[in-house]
Every structure is written in structure tokens, then in C-alpha cells.
């Protein structure tokens, strides 16, 4: 029933190209850049939660770890290519260790949530307390609550003076998101992805079929962390300062809200949820009569109560209900197109 991988990828590329061309006409690229970065962060949790069934309360830990790794490495090396790589590898390695500890210990839902939450909190507390001059990695001072400002931002590989910034940086981030999206698409169609979904559905059955569930969960967890780390590095380049706030619980909460609102078990849902809610937050930040956090909390409560599946699955369900019984050429084509976008 699923359209072929090549077709899926082609549609993705065409739709993405259209969006990258059209969106800057509506919203400034500076804002769009951060929406794209948040989209990638949403996708990272959407992958491990929606498809792997691993509810991680500390996805912000990898986001922050990626950003800090990039900043520290960029201060030390004075260029951006190696720091970008490190910003992906360090969170992934960290997640590999943490994941191995959790999944080989057969910890599940509540304990998983609490441990990831606590680890995020440890990182937050530790980074917050590193204000003193003794906390130095290479040439970079960790700076405690004030964070690390003034590091080398993204440059063309090999030429530290050719910065990528402004519009060009937006296109860079958007391209990165499209590549990650395609990678996730490919991954979910590979045998690894199918087995990961199988683990989400019934862990015991997959284990009895002879697959190493703990190893596969650990690997998927690390992959999610790598994507979050990349998003963190991109964020560090965009904001030009990294602070302990990146590790905070509210950041973690926001990622979970994006996924819930957008829709779990879809690739597009978390990205869309992240972009829309982040933009909403940006608009709400411009007024002061109603507190921002209050509205975010209300959205989460209402979605859990009334639309626990999220927007994208609900819309696709509605689409199916209205067009399923009319197998005329046009609607079937439309349905197929929709499925490739959201599937």
C-alpha cells in the first residue's frame, strides 16, 4: 500500500523546495531559521517516541549538549566544521551510554521518564554552577548561568572568515532539516525502522522473534540524540550564545508538547507542531496581558483530553473518512499524495 521510497522522497523534496521558496516571503528568515531548528528538535523526539515508543523527558539534554559542545569546540578550534561533527557525536555517545544503562536494565515508561528527567536536571545544575574560573575546557570558560558567548559561528569549511549567516544560514538549516527528514524516512523503511516500530507495538513478541531489543532501542535512542545535538549546534549558531536554559525542564516540556500537538507516529507532525507552536509563542511574546506559559500549559491539557492523537493524524483521519468511499482517480491520487507527505 505504501508508495515507493523514491516517490516518497521525490514528493518530500518538491514540497520542501516549494516551502523553502515561499515561506521567506511571509515570515522573516531570522524567525524562520529558529522554527526550522525547533522542527528538527521536534523530529528527533518524534522519531524515538512516536516510532520507537521511548518517552524521553530529557530530549533538551541532547539539544543543550549539542549546543555546548559546538560552542566549546568552536572557541578552541576557531572554525566550525569539526565542532559541527562533534556536536552530533558527543550527544549521541552520551545517549548511547545512558540508553545502554537504561535499556539493558529493562527499565520502562515511568522509570525511563524519571531517569531522563533527572539526568537533564543534573546537567542543568552542573552547568549552572560552573561560573568560577576553574571550570575551563581548553580555552573555553563554561561561564555558569551566563553561558558562553562570542564563539566562531558557522563558516565555509576550510575558510574561517567566510561566515554563513542571515538568509544563507536559513537555507543551510532548511537543507539540513530536509536531509534529516529524508534520512528518517529512509530509516523507517529499512528493516531497522520496521523492527523499531514492532518493538513499540509489542516488545515481547519482537524479543521472542530473536531480535536484540535492548541494543536496537539503545541505537534508536542515540540516533534521536544525534539529531537533537545537530539541532542544538544549529541553534548555537543562530543565537550566538549558549546558556544553561537550553537544558531546562521547560525546554524539555516544550518538545513533548510539540510532539503531542503535532501528532505522534508521524514524521511531519512533530515538525509542524514545533514550528506552529514556536511561532505562536513568538507572537504571544509580543503581548503582555496573558502569560505565555499559561497558554502552552492549557494547550497541552486540552490536547491530552480532547485530541490525544494530535493534529496531523486527526486531519488525515478526517480526510480518509470523507474521501475513502469515492475511489475516483482524483481523490485516490490526492490520498496518495497526502500519505506521502504525512505518512
Amino acid at each position: 500500500m505504501q508508495p515507493s521510497l523514491a516517490k516518497d522522497m521525490l514528493t518530500t523534496v518538491i514540497v520542501a523546495a516549494l516551502l523553502i521558496w515561499l515561506l521567506p516571503l511571509l515570515v522573516g528568515t531570522y524567525t524562520l531559521t529558529v522554527l526550522v531548528i525547533y522542527g528538527m528538535l521536534g523530529l528527533s523526539l518524534g522519531l524515538i517516541w512516536g516510532f520507537g515508543g521511548i518517552l524521553c523527558f530529557g530530549q533538551a539534554a541532547y539539544f543543550g549538549l549539542g549546543a555546548y559542545t559546538y560552542a566549546i569546540a568552536a572557541v578552541n578550534f576557531g572554525e566550525s566544521t569539526l565542532p559541527m561533527l562533534l556536536a552530533v557525536l558527543v550527544p549521541a555517545a552520551f545517549a548511547l551510554l545512558l540508553g545502554a544503562m537504561m535499556f539493558y536494565g529493562r527499565l520502562t515508561d515511568v522509570y525511563l521518564g524519571v531517569i531522563t528527567l533527572v539526568v537533564t536536571l543534573i546537567l542543568f545544575k552542573f552547568i549552572n554552577s560552573t561560573a568560577g574560573p576553574q571550570y575551563v575546557i581548553g580555552k573555553a570558560r563554561l561561564g555558569g548561568f551566563n553561558g558562553i558567548p562570542g564563539y566562531q559561528t558557522l563558516n565555509v569549511p576550510g575558510d574561517p572568515n567566510a561566515y554563513i549567516w542571515g538568509d544563507a544560514y536559513f537555507y543551510f538549516c532548511a537543507l539540513a532539516l530536509v536531509l534529516v527528514y529524508l534520512l528518517v524516512t529512509w530509516l523507517l523503511r529499512s528493516s531497522f525502522g520496521r523492527i523499531a516500530i514492532g518493538i513499540r507495538e509489542n516488545e515481547t513478541r519482537i524479543a521472542l522473534m530473536g531480535y536484540d531489543v535492548a541494543a536496537r532501542k539503545t541505537l534508536l535512542f542515540a540516533l534521536g540524540a544525534a539529531i537533537a545535538g545537530l539541532a542544538g549546534a544549529l541553534f548555537a549558531n543562530w543565537s550566538e550564545i549558549v546558556t544553561p536554559g537550553l537544558f531546562s525542564l521547560s525546554q524539555s516540556a516544550e518538545i513533548i508538547i510539540w510532539c503531542i500537538v503535532g501528532g505522534l507516529g508521524t514524521r511531519l507532525g512533530p515538525i509542524l507542531g514545533a514550528a506552529v507552536l514556536a511561532y505562536l509563542k513568538f507572537l504571544l511574546g509580543q503581548q503582555s496581558s496573558i502569560d505565555n506559559t499559561l497558554i502552552m500549559g492549557l494547550i497541552l491539557v486540552l490536547f491530552v483530553l480532547f485530541l490525544p492523537k494530535g493534529v496531523v493524524p486527526a486531519l488525515s483521519g478526517m480526510w480518509k473518512a470523507s474521501f475513502a468511499r469515492r475511489p475516483s482517480g482524483r481523490s485516490r491520487q490526492a490520498r496518495r499524495r497526502r500519505r506521502t507527505e504525512h505518512g
Binding site: 536494565g105 533527572v118 543534573i122 516540556a253 496573558i290 502552552m296 497541552l300
Partner: protein
Amino acid sequence: MDLSFVILIEMFYAVATLILIGSGLAVVFGMMKVINLAHGEFMMMGGYATITAVNAGVNVFVAILVIAPLIVGLIGLIVERLVIRHLYGRLVDTMLATWGLSLFLVGLATMIFGNTTTGISTPIPGFAVGAYQVNGYNFFIIVVSALLVLAMLAVLRGSRAGLIARGTMQRADMAAALGYSPDRIYMATFFCGSALSGLAGAVLAPLVGLVPTSGGAYIAKAFITVIAGGPALIAGLVSSATSFGVINQFFTFAVSPVIGEVALLVAAVVLLRLMPQGITGRFFKGKL
């Protein structure tokens, strides 16, 4: 000699704080299996209720021991009726909904009280032990939490209401068949849990500068205390609070307060890895 006495008091104080923080959650999570991520915000509201009442001229102990638990209990009642009632048995959904609730309450408190630090002075003066100054309020906290544990034990073990509540949590259908309404019992239990959270927030309010986001500081500690405690409600609470409190204070005195906090969290992760069922899943089995 003086130093060891001070350290001993500090350890008791750390354990008592953890028991206080964990007690409300132990009822709501340990008994009802509702993961209340808004627990920290319930405590924050208890703190605000106390401060508002004291500023309005109420005796500080009345505010702490009566007004704050009642107000937070009532708020808990409203929350239970509106949100949590629909989500019993759906673990992850309750978790998410209460997280949303916690954000909502933080936002609400910010709108009402503003994003500034408020506080009241501690009502009991400190005294000197040799060369050291000891906060007299710490004794109050130790006494309150000891009484709290005894009271919980008495209610859950000795009273008919406690028996009915425990029975309903174990087999709701059986309790219903015997003529008790599980819906009402759940409601009442949640009220008690919220009131305990409010009491904890109120008792700790004179010690901390209260901001709307104060709740976040408690929530992780409360959860690790209750989860590491395991299935036995009170034995688990006391045993895990004791181990974490001692570890925390040991590293606080040996290194620094920040390392003390980190040591507590690391100990929690290690403990959960070694004993996923909690301390009482392995020791003190079958106790309350």
C-alpha cells in the same frame, strides 16, 4: 562535638524535608498511580497561600498548618474533577496532562503574583550551638514531618477510611461491589494528597524565596524519593528519604551544596538501575 551535632541536625533536617516533599506525591502516585507532575506547583501554591494569609494578618502557624493545606486541597479537588478524573489508568496521558497543568499554574501564578521573589521571615528564632548558629525552624520541620508520618500511618492502618481507600486502590470493582463509590474515594484521596503537597509547600515557604517557578525545584526530588521508595507507601518514603538525605548532606559537607544535590540525583539513578522496583520492592516487603 559541636560540629557533629550540627551535622546530625542537618541530616535529620534533610531527611525531614524529603519526607515532606514526597508525602503528597506518595499518596497521589504511590496509592492512586497518578503521576502528578504538577506536584511541585501544588507546593508552590501552598507557599503562596501561606504568604498571602500571613500578609493579611493571620497567625503564621494557622496559615501553614490549616489554611494552605485546605486551599491547595480544594484546588486539587477542582483539578481532579476537571482533568484527572478522565485519565485514570492512562499513565502517560496523566503525566502529560499534569505537566500541562503545571505550566498552566506557573503562568497563572506569574499573572497574579508577578515574576518576583516573595517570602516571609522564619517564625522561630535560631540559637547557638558552640561556635555555630542553628536555625530553630529546622526543628519545626523535623517535628512536623515526624508527626506527618505517624498521622499517615495511623489513618491508613488504623482508621476505617484508610482501609476503604487502600482497598479501593487495590480492587476498585470489589470496593464498588461492596457499596463504596470508587469515584468518590478517588476524589477524596486526591484531595488528601493535594492537601499534603500544600502543607509541604507551606512549611518550606519561610525558608525559600518563593517565585512562580519554585515548583520545578521540588518535583524531581519528590519523584525520585517516591519512586525509589517503591510499593510500600510509608516504609518506602521514609527509607528512601533517609538514604537520599544522608547522601545529600554527606556530600554537601564534604564538598559543596551543588555537589550534594548532584550526588543525590546520581544516587537516585544508580538506585533505580539496581532496584527498579524501589527499595521496598526488595526489603520490607508487605509493609505499609
